[in-house]
Symmetry: C2
Subunit: 474 residues, 2 copies
Amino acid sequence: MGKPTMINILGSLLLFCSVSLANQEIDRVIYLPGQPENVNFAHYSGYVTVNKSAGRALFYWFIESPSNPESKPLVLWLNGGPGCSSIAYGAAEEIGPFRINPNGKTLYMNPYAWNKRTAVANLLFLESPAGVGFSYSNTSSDLYTAGDSKTAEDSYRFLQRWFNRFPQYKYRDFYIAGESYAGHYVPQLSQLIHRRNEGIANPVMKFKGFMVGNGVTDVYYDLIGTFEYWWTRGLISDSTYKRLNDSCPESSIRASACKKALDVAKSEIGNIDPYSIYTHPCNTTGEIWRNVRAHYVSDQMFLSEALPWLKRAYDPCTQRYSREYFNLPEVQKALHANKTNIPYPWDICSDIVEYNWVDSQRSMLPIYQELIEAGLRIWVYSGDTDAVVPVTATRYSLGALKLPAVTKWYPWYDKEKVGGWSEVYKGLTFVTIRGSGHEVPLHRLRQAFILFNHFLNNKPMPRKTLNVQMVQSS
Amino acid sequence: MGKPTMINILGSLLLFCSVSLANQEIDRVIYLPGQPENVNFAHYSGYVTVNKSAGRALFYWFIESPSNPESKPLVLWLNGGPGCSSIAYGAAEEIGPFRINPNGKTLYMNPYAWNKRTAVANLLFLESPAGVGFSYSNTSSDLYTAGDSKTAEDSYRFLQRWFNRFPQYKYRDFYIAGESYAGHYVPQLSQLIHRRNEGIANPVMKFKGFMVGNGVTDVYYDLIGTFEYWWTRGLISDSTYKRLNDSCPESSIRASACKKALDVAKSEIGNIDPYSIYTHPCNTTGEIWRNVRAHYVSDQMFLSEALPWLKRAYDPCTQRYSREYFNLPEVQKALHANKTNIPYPWDICSDIVEYNWVDSQRSMLPIYQELIEAGLRIWVYSGDTDAVVPVTATRYSLGALKLPAVTKWYPWYDKEKVGGWSEVYKGLTFVTIRGSGHEVPLHRLRQAFILFNHFLNNKPMPRKTLNVQMVQSS
C-alpha cells in the first residue's frame, strides 16, 4: 500500500461515518409501547460491547433534545446503588422525558424532563456496571467482581465506543451527572476522562464538568453528618447517637459495636421512608424493605444486614411500574434490549452486583481536589429531607475541602419562594433543594430543572430580593 | 352576731353557690355570630378581675366538653409570645372547637377539637397577661411592666376567682398546657399552684400536671440547639454557624457580636416561614414579618431588631381571619368582651407587652426538677419542622436534666404511619410530631389530638409493630 491520498482519507472517513450512522440508526427507537402522542425528539437505545472476550455489554438509552439537539451539550446520567439502573431511576422517574403510569403499560410526558425546554441537553442514560438492568456479561464471574474501578473503566470504554457510534457528538460539550452512590461513579469517571484527555489538544470527549446529588462522598464525614442528621431530626435517641459516633466513623462500619449501634438506630427510626422523611411511603410499604442494598461499601463490605434501609433511592410506587414496564417483551424489543435473553428479569437494582462489590474508595475528596484544580465545573446538590445521604453528610464532606467561599450562603428563589440554599466556593458550587428527598428530580421536578439549567449555564442559583410588600411590612 | 348555725352556714353556701352560678350564667355564650349548626356544648366567656385597685381584668373563654363535662378534667391552655393571645392561637386555630373561615365572619367546627370526642377535656383559654387580647388594665403602666412573675401571679389569681365562679370545677382534675413562650408560663404557674397547694389536703385546684409544646425552656441549651437546627437544615453557612455558637449562647444575646451574627443568619435564611420550614407562607407573605416579637427575653431585652422572625407562632392566613372576626362588634358582644372599650383593637399579639417585658427566667429546668420530684405528670412535645423553638433546642434542654430513660426512644404510630418519636424518662415524657411546625395542633390536628389523649390518660404514645407484610418482605 502506498501513501494515503486525500481522496483515500476522505473515502475512509465517509465509510466510517456511514457505518457509524447506520449503527446509530439501528439503535433508533421508532415507537415505545404505550407512548404518548407528543414525542417530538429522537431517541436511541442498545448495547455497546465493552469487553468482547468476556462478552460484556452495557445498555444505554440516549434521548435527544427536541429542538436543535446539535447545538446542545451531551449529559451522561448515572444512578448508584451500587447495582441500580439509570433507566429505572434517572430515565423513568427522575430526569427522562417518559414517566410510567400506574398500570405499568403506558407512558406520560415529564413536563420538566432535562432534554426539553430551553437551553437544555441531550441525555445519555447508562446501566452500569455489567449485571445492572439490561447490561450483561457472558462471563458470569464479572457480576461477582464488580467494583468502583471496573465500573469506571467499563464506563470509559463504553463512552469511547458510543462516541464512535454517534460521531456527531464528538467534540461536543460533555457533562456527567448522577446521584447517590454515583457520588463515586461520577467523580471517578470524570477523573479518568480528565486524565486521559491530558495533553490532547481537541479530545473527542470535550469534558467540561460534573454534578453530583445526595452523593456518597467520604465515609468518615458522611457518617458523622448522617448520624447528626438522624439525631437533629429526632429519629434516634441521645444514647444511640453517642453509640454511633463512638463506634462507627473512626472504625470500620463492619465492626461489631458499630453494627449493633446501627441495629438500635434502625429500630428507633421505625417504618419511615428514610429517603424522604416527611412523606409517607407508597401503599405497599413492603416495597421499601425489598431488594436491600448499601451505599457504604468501603472495606469491601456491606451494611445491608445491619441497616437494610440505608440503601439506594426509590419511589416505592414508581419502581413497581418500572419493573412491570421494562419487563414487557414488546418494550424490550422496542428498546433493542435483552437481545441475548438474560437469564433473570430486568430489575431496578441487582443484589448480586451490590453484595459482591469488590472495591469502594473511602473518599472522593482527593478526586474533587484534583478536578477543582483542573478547572472543571463542579456542582454538588442535596435534597435536604433525605436521611440516607443527608445534607449534613455532604456539608461535612465538602467542608473538609476547606474551599474559600466566593458567594456566601444565600437562599435561592423560584417564583418568590425559597427553593433551597446555595454557596459558591472557589471551584465548586453547592446547592440544597428545600423539602426534597433523595431523588431530587422526582420530589422537586421544577426546582431540579432550574438547578440543571443553572449548572449548564454556569450561573449561580437565582437570588431574589424580598418583594416590595414584604420589605415594607417588615 | 351569734355563732353561725348549721342552717346559717348552709344558707350562706347556697347563696354563694347561686351567686356563682348566676355569675357563670352571665358569662354563657348564647350564640356566636356565624357559628355552625352543630354546637352541642356549652361555652362561657368574660372577665375576671385580678387586681381591683389597678383595674386589671383577664379575659377567658371556657369551652365545655359536649358529653358529660362533669366527668372530664379541666385544662387551661396558654399561648406565648410573650404578648400573644390564647384566643387567637389556641382557641381559634389550634385546639378550640371553632375555626374561622377566610371571610373572617363565619365559623366551622374543628374535627379534632380537644374538648370533643372520647375521653377529652373542658378547655379554658386565658388571654394573659393584661394588655394581651381583650385582657386589660385601667392602670396603663401595667402594660409596660409585664413579665414572667406578674403573669404567673395574675394567672394564679385569675384561677382562684374563676374557680369561685365555676365551683363545679373545684376539686376536679386540673392540667395546664401551652406552647412556645408558654414554655415559661406553664411551668411557672404550675410551680405556683403546686407550692400553694402544699400542706392542703384537698386543694381547690386539684393540679395533676402540665404539657408544653415547642416551648422556650433554657436560654443556653435552646440557643445551642436552635443554631444546630439551622445548620443541619442548611439554613445557614458554616461560618455563620460558628459565629453564632462563638458569640451567643455563653454571652447575652444582646451582645453586639451575637446580634451581628443573628443579622447574617437572618439574611442567609431568607423568606421562609421559620415556624414551619417546609411549607410555604400564606399568599400575603407580608404578614409573616408583622408584629414582631421575641421568645428569648432574658436579661430584660429583646431580639426583635436582630431577628424579627424569631418570634411567636402564627399561621399568616388564619391570623388574618382572627383579626377580622374578633374585632366584629357583634362577636365582642356575644363573647362579653371589650365591655370597657379598650382604646386599641383586639390583636393577635401585643407589641407593647412584649417589648417592655421586665423579667424572664433564664431557665425552666429548676422548675422541672422541682415538679418532677413532686410527682406531677409532665409531658413535653415538639413539632419537628419548627426552626424557632426547634426539636434540637428542646432535646438539649431536656438532656440537661439527665433523666434516666424508662422507655427508650421509639417511633409512635397512627394508622400504621410514624406520627413522630417518643422517649419516656423517669418523671417526664417527651414526644415529637413528625413534619409539624411550631403550632402542632394547627399543622397536625389528628396527631396532636392523639398526643393530648395519651397525656390525659397518662399512657405512652402508641407503639406499633410493623405490619405482617412488611416484616415478611424485609
